[in-house]
Assembly symmetry: C2
Homo-oligomer: 92 residues x 2
């Protein structure tokens, strides 16, 4: 039997990697008067549905998918949560 | 006294909005052999530190920041969690 899992994936820059987009946002916020904001870092948030016989296989596939397509392992980390869902459930 | 809050912000496309990048990723995954992946949607995940006298003021500022700079309210939703942190805590 196939099960459906909703994956909530966070892809974030490694701590040692500079984030020019984050710096730009912080600078823009300062110009808007928000000088109380620090350390803006911008990552990706991905939701998808994965169909798999069990959670272990779904996790294996997701690790491969994150390594191969969703993240750049040289500069990014990823983590994900898996939730088993009913057939009709969708992502955001 | 000023407090420090770590904000974890998710910016996601509204459900009615098409996500061409998500469709492209799904199509790429299919070409890699992952035909068990559906409904890929790509959003943003932002972390920042906000300094504020209390949580209420931090939330007010963050709502304005999300509306004005981090999201496009026409096509995107946002949500955030706030965690009070020690002075030396950093984002990802």
């Amino acid at each position: 039997m196939q099960r459906k899992y909703l994956a909530k994936i966070h892809v974030t820059l490694r701590p040692s990697v500079l984030d020019p987009a984050g710096v730009a946002v912080q600078s823009g916020l300062q110009q808007l008067g928000y000088d109380n904001v620090e350390q803006v870092r911008i990552g990706k948030y991905i939701e998808l549905i994965i169909v798999s016989p069990d959670e272990k296989k779904a996790r294996q596939d997701l690790n491969n998918i994150c390594d191969q397509m969703l993240s750049n392992p040289v500069i990014e980390n990823y983590r994900f949560d898996l939730i088993e869902v009913e057939s009709q459930t969708g992502v955001f």
